[in-house]
């Protein structure tokens, strides 16, 4: 796959990330997919597994402004979006942009802050703009949020409202590195962090161009049908209280387009859809309490649905 990519930038970005991240190629790849599809990522993980490093490498590779917000219970919405301050010299209010005004944002532990502050972030993600004191401020483009949340069983968290979860294109887990990888992490920790040496491989305009190309990746009607069948399958499933919405179908298609692009293809395969379905759909369905008690996870349900939908292997009869 690495050979003769129609766009070598993709390989270079992934290579950059690999320089600072050991293993976890799929996480890097999926993050890139979300970035290219113009979506956001929710990482559900414990601290200290290298999220920041990865996002910074990503930001550096595309020469983007990187901001980080550490969410705490006392964080206010204005701390995120920015605030207008009265300047006595100029005799007027001046807007001081908050960290949300960057290109690539790491929103750490968003479930530690109050729902009010969460909404400020989520509104910005959805609308690509924020309104402060009656003035609408456009966010910079491209705009990519990677939010992390601690597993919700932890004390002192405000779970994200279900309706807001589907603002994220993908939800994934990073997990701990395996033993070999962790030894390699220690080795690298003895040297200077290589993050400083990373060179950008593309600028922001170039990235917008890539996003445009991703939109043109071909999706055949058979694939659209396949996507809809899978999403529809979550709605009727016995363990599911509320299935994925049509927004889920759109997200799955967009993600599949970006994934096909990352994998050097200008058309989508059922394989792309199958691979992405758990990442795209699992945070968009609400399980019944019985299923939760039985310990069935949403990923498992999505995988079961995918296993039940036949892959299209012939052209649609028109």
């Amino acid at each position: 796959m690495a050979h003769e990519h129609m766009n070598p930038v993709i390989d270079q970005i992934l290579a950059n990330i690999e320089k600072v991240m050991i293993g976890k190629r799929n996480v890097a790849e999926l993050s890139l997919v979300a970035l290219l599809a113009g979506g956001h990522v929710l990482l559900e993980d414990v601290p200290g597994v290298g999220k920041t490093m990865m996002v910074r490498a990503l930001a550096k590779s595309v020469n983007a402004k990187f901001r980080r917000i550490q969410f705490t219970p006392d964080l206010l919405p204005s701390d995120v979006t920015g605030v207008s301050i009265y300047n006595p010299k100029e005799m007027e209010f001046q807007f001081r942009p908050g960290p949300l005004m960057g290109n690539i944002i790491l929103a750490d532990e968003i479930n530690r802050t109050s729902p009010k502050t969460q909404s400020a972030l989520l509104e910005g993600m959805e609308e690509a703009s924020v309104t402060i004191d009656g003035v609408t401020h456009k966010l910079s483009k491209p705009f990519f949020v990677m939010a992390t949340q601690n597993p919700i069983e932890y004390e002192g968290t405000y779970p994200l409202p279900e309706a807001q979860l589907d603002r994220f294109l993908l939800k994934m887990k990073m997990g701990y590195p395996d033993i070999q990888e962790e030894i390699e992490v220690l080795n690298r920790a003895q040297k200077t962090p290589p993050i400083e040496d990373l060179q950008p491989v593309i600028d922001l305009d170039g990235l917008i161009g890539l996003q445009q190309e991703v939109k043109e990746v071909f999706v055949d009607d058979t694939i659209k049908r396949y996507i809809v069948d899978i999403v529809n399958g979550t709605r009727g499933h016995g363990s599911v209280y509320l299935g994925a919405s049509p927004r889920g179908s759109i997200a799955l298609m967009k993600a599949a387009q970006a994934y096909a692009y990352v994998n050097n293809r200008d058309y989508v395969l059922p394989d792309d859809v199958q691979y992405l379905a758990p990442y795209v759909l699992s945070h968009r369905i609400i399980l019944k309490s019985e299923a939760k008690f039985e310990g069935i996870s949403a990923e498992e349900v999505v995988n079961r649905v995918v296993a039940r939908v036949p892959v299209p292997i012939r052209r649609l009869v028109k």
Binding site: F218, D220, L269, P270, R308, P310, V311, P312, R315
Partner: protein, 726 residues
């Protein structure tokens, strides 16, 4: 897998019963004798299979049985006298030669018997396979039913009981097999016992069989499908209730009447001196609706012998003639002139037993393209014909007389009254017969083929014609005359055959003879009356026909051709008919066509071979189906070699998927093509499937393909297909 226990034994018994049903009609419908030998063979073969003897023992036992039976059936000496083996082996070699020469007809009975044994042996194996391995028998059961019903419909085989037996055995065996299949699927867990299954099964079968037997049966939609089928094949359509028959020779006369259409197909050409009527058979019992034969008394003779039909007494003056009959196609319909002496120049061996049924005087087992006959042409003297005036037990056998004067008990009395009126004043049998014969020349009676009634349930065929319709063709005229004479005690019989046909040309050579062409339109029926001392004398009551009989009315000075002097002067329309008669369609209707009768004859004669062929073809088709994975791909490979378009991959790839599936490499429904391709490639250790799948994915999910990609793809595709055949 399956134990040799009691249920298995039952399966074998039912399998045997089903197979037996195939043998039963063979005995009745063909010349196969000693059918019990074959049945015992079946039992032996089934027993070997049931007891799971080693194959070598089965082979030896079965082969020994076959040899022993052949020896018993075809050789005089005992089995242990070695000399018969030489004869047997040379016979086998000879027959093998005949097979390669495709000379099927000359195969000896002995060889056919062996073939039949082998066929049965195969069937036993197949049944074993179906019952114990496949555990499915439906096709065989269904074919058995079809076989029996077809035979019941088209032959004299009566399957009333056979169908009940077959249904019973068939359902029992299918029910048991279903049980085995289910318990197999449940991995032998005896969740329900055999008994619990069998009791309701037996009950249901018994109930449905009893219900089927007791329930009232709807009348058939077609009174008899055979004439219906024939009519459906007719050229000018076949409408109207009762159907329109096509003219030609048919052997069933149980129900006469109804219209028919002409058929100008030539059946025979005949070289002879003068025109003669050609007989095929006679019938002696009038039923009120038609004619049947009182029985069957087959007698064999060789071509050196006189033909054992009632000959012309020596008191009648005769002259000798020969005639050559040539059929258009090889046919078993044998015509001969009255007064036949011998068959000569017939293509059968010297000692070949020609069989004739002396009741109907029909030649049964001759199948030939042509033959010659020696025969005598009588010249009756009116003075002798007029001698008999009544029944005289001293010159005529009482039983014989009763047989030929028998009339149905419910024959309407007015027929006899009419006959008595017509014959009033005549004293002797001959004059009475002549009077009745000429009575039909009366203007009231019209010859017609179209507007002819079919007698209803209550009608008498003769009565309806004589008094009600008065329109008809030869069957109406001849039957009426025969029945009328019988009412006044003159013995008659009804004769079927062909008229003299149409003169075409003279033969080449010194002894020039005339050549007559006989078509289906010339099929005809007439009457013979028995006159003591003179034999069976033919009469021709049908309007517009003449049988060319010569009768010396004076002391021998005048020879007149009958018919013409007797009837009243014929008015014009009849004259026209006479002119038209030889040329155009007319004549008798025997209810179905010659084509059908040919088919029927073919069916009757080639019975066994048809069954054998059918079974062989069925077996071949079945085997081909089983191994389709081996040969179907070659057809596809050949076909796709000539395709050029790139999107051929669309169909080709799906064929490959199917072939791989048959090969045993199944794709799960939710498995994507590329992951399946990786699986296939790992199985065959290639990269070909992945490459081909990439192309197909482009075709399917991208709707585009690089130009000229099919050349490469075809190569990949063929390689993969070949891997599945190897």
């Amino acid at each position: 897998m399956i134990k040799r226990d009691f249920p298995t034994f039952l399966l074998y018994v039912f399998g045997f019963l089903l197979l037996w049903e195939w043998l039963r009609p063979v005995e009745q419908l063909t010349d196969t004798d000693n059918i019990e030998t074959f049945i015992i063979f079946l039992i032996v073969a089934f027993a070997g299979s049931y007891l799971r003897l080693k194959w070598i023992w089965q082979l030896l036992i079965n082969a020994f049985f076959i040899l022993f039976s052949v020896n018993r059936l075809y050789y005089e000496g005992g089995f242990f006298q070695p000399d018969w083996l030489n004869a047997f082996l040379s016979d086998m070699t000879e027959n093998l030669g005949l097979i390669f020469a495709r000379n099927w007809n000359d195969l000896t009975d002995e060889f056919r018997t062996i073939l039949f044994f082998v066929l049965l042996w195969l069937m036993v194996y197949l049944l074993h396979y179906w019952l114990l391995r496949q555990q499915r028998i439906f096709i065989f059961f269904f074919m058995t039913l079809v076989y029996i019903t077809v035979l019941d419909t088209f032959t004299e085989y009566n399957a009333t009981v056979a169908i009940v037996r077959t249904v019973g055995a068939g359902f029992a065996v299918m029910g048991m097999l279903t049980y085995f299949r289910i318990s197999m699927r449940e991995h032998g867990s005896q969740s329900f016992s055999m008994k619990k299954w069998m009791v309701p099964l037996v009950g249901m079968i018994a109930f449905s069989v009893l219900l089927g037997m007791a329930a009232p049966k709807a009348a058939p939609i077609w009174p008899d499908p055979v004439p219906y089928l024939t009519a459906a094949k007719g050229q000018d359509g076949s409408d109207g209730p009762g159907g329109i028959s096509r003219i030609g020779y048919g052997s069933n006369d149980e129900r006469l009447g109804g219209p028919f259409i002409g058929d100008n197909t030539t059946v025979f050409t005949i070289e002879s001196n003068g025109k003669h009527y050609w007989k095929v058979e006679t019938k002696d019992i009038y039923t009120g609706k038609g004619w049947v034969a009182s029985g069957s008394t087959p007698i064999d003779f060789t071509k050196a012998d006189l033909v054992p039909v009632f000959s012309i007494p020596s008191s009648v003056e005769t002259r000798d003639e020969t005639a050559r009959i040539t059929s258009v196609k090889e046919s078993s319909l044998i015509v001969y002139p009255a007064g036949i002496q011998r068959f000569i120049e017939v293509n059968v061996p010297e000692r070949y037993p020609i069989r004739i049924d002396t009741t109907t005087e029909k030649i049964k087992n001759l199948k030939t393209n042509g033959y010659s006959v020696d025969f005598k042409v009588p010249r009756y003297k009116a003075i002798d014909l007029r001698k008999p005036t009544g029944f005289d037990p001293t010159v005529m056998n009482q039983e014989f007389y009763e047989r030929y004067t028998k009339i149905p008990e419910n024959l309407p009395a007015r027929i006899k009254q009419l006959t008595e009126e017509i014959t009033a004043g005549k004293t002797n049998w001959f004059d009475k017969a002549k009077a009745v014969e000429s009575y039909f020349g009366n203007i009231e009676y019209t010859y017609d083929q179209k507007n002819v009634a079919l007698p209803g349930e209550e009608d008498d065929y003769v009565d309806q014609f004589l008094f009600d319709t008065k329109v008809g063709y030869c069957d109406n005229f001849s039957t009426s005359m025969a029945v009328m004479l019988r009412t006044i005690g003159i013995p008659t019989r009804w004769v079927k055959g062909f008229t003299g046909g149409e003169f075409t040309e003279y033969t080449q050579g010194d002894e020039s003879k005339e050549i007559y062409q006989i078509t289906n339109n010339n099929a005809h029926s007439w009457v013979e009356a028995f006159i003591p001392g003179q034999g069976w004398v033919p009469f021709e009551p049908t309007k517009g026909y003449s049988n060319g009989l010569s009768i010396d009315y004076t002391s021998g000075e005048t020879t007149s051709r009958t018919q013409t002097p007797a009837p009243a002067p014929a008015p014009k329309p009849q004259k026209e008919e006479i002119d038209e008669a030889p040329a155009k369609a007319k004549d008798s209707s025997y209810d179905f066509t010659a084509i059908w009768s040919a088919i029927e004859k073919f069916f009757n004669n080639n019975w066994l071979s048809l069954v054998v062929w059918f079974l062989v073809i069925a077996a071949v088709v079945w085997v081909l189906y089983r191994i389709r994975g081996k040969w179907v791909p070659y057809i596809f490979m050949f076909r796709y070699r000539f395709k050029k378009q790139d999107d051929t991959i669309g169909t080709a790839y799906l064929i490959l998927l199917k072939q791989l599936d048959r090969y045993g490499l199944k794709r799960r429904e939710n498995q994507t093509l590329s992951s399946y391709a990786r699986y296939i490639d790992s199985f065959f250790s290639t990269r070909e499937m992945t490459r081909l799948t990439n192309s197909y994915e482009q075709y399917l999910y991208h709707q585009t393909l690089p130009k000229g990609s099919w050349d490469d793809n075809r190569e990949l595709w063929e390689n993969l297909i070949k891997k599945t055949i190897a």
